[in-house]
Point group: C2
Chain length 137, copies 2
DNA sequence: ATTTTTGCTTGCATTTTGCAAGTACAAATG
DNA sequence: CATTTGTACTTGCAAAATGCAAGCAAAAAT
């Protein structure tokens, strides 16, 4: 992965560079909310990421210290990806994206349940989910 | 602008597609916080977007109904870009990105002031800024 | 011993980007 | 009134990133 030479000094820009693009954020979302944690699970995920892009994104996220590649307890063939604290701290932002998306886009059923929970008690949801995710780090 | 054929049904994915990429979000940020509203202002902005990309992004944002192209009161040569309600509603998400960026990235001075204000009183900042932005729609 | 699963890599055509240059119209300047 | 400057773009082209299909080595299952 060659880096783009013309880079902004703007933190928003750099923070978005960390994700690389939507795919990276979707991987994080899969880990946060949908219990996905392996390469093939991310690949099978509804979004339809292609395998080479997934590989590159996982590398980028690991380099950015948003993901940790660990041994899978079930099998040596598997790799277990874990969210770091840095990634878990993205939760509030991801929640806000969901709330915005719910207002302006059509939501899939699997996401709808999530958003309903958030709408009932945003702070509660964030605290609870954050604690659950931190426990797994 | 040809659209990518393989599109996700995931709302996060689609919401990020709306922005196009980091550049779109930076344009919105320039409008929200830094009083930029014309083509040349976006171009001169510190981030270093190239002119053809800026043109495409402005089109995309207009098509997505995040921006409105309006006549500039000062001159017929100028175009005044305005945020729509849909874009203003991104404020909470953008605030959360800033808070995250402040924790994990090096912040530029111009952004630092903004973040300090947010850290003092997040809800207050959002309410106040949202009201100010809505007044200009 | 063979097939399947898992986590990738490789090759290649298509698309998007970055950079530089150019253009049309409005406004300012001499 | 002619010319220069400013504004909002467009165009062309090389370089980079993406999407798609195929391949591949090690581990696990049959």
């Amino acid at each position: 992965m060659k880096k783009n030479l013309q880079r902004s000094e703007c933190p928003i820009c750099r923070s978005l560079d960390l994700f690389g693009d939507k795919w990276s954020l979707l991987i994080i979302r899969d880990l946060m909310f949908f219990g996905k944690a392996t390469y093939s699970e991310f690949l099978k995920s509804a979004e339809g990421i292609s395998t080479n892009i997934l590989a590159v994104r996982l590398q980028m996220l690991e380099e950015s210290q948003l993901l940790l590649r660990t041994e899978h307890p079930d099998s040596k063939a598997k790799v277990l990806y874990k969210l770091t604290q840095k990634a878990v701290d993205l939760l509030p932002m991801i929640v806000e994206i969901h709330l915005w998306a719910e207002k302006y886009l059509t939501i899939t059923p699997e996401t709808e349940a999530l958003i309903e929970e958030v709408k009932n008690d945003k702070e509660g949801f964030i605290t609870k989910t954050m604690a659950a995710l931190c426990a797994r780090i």
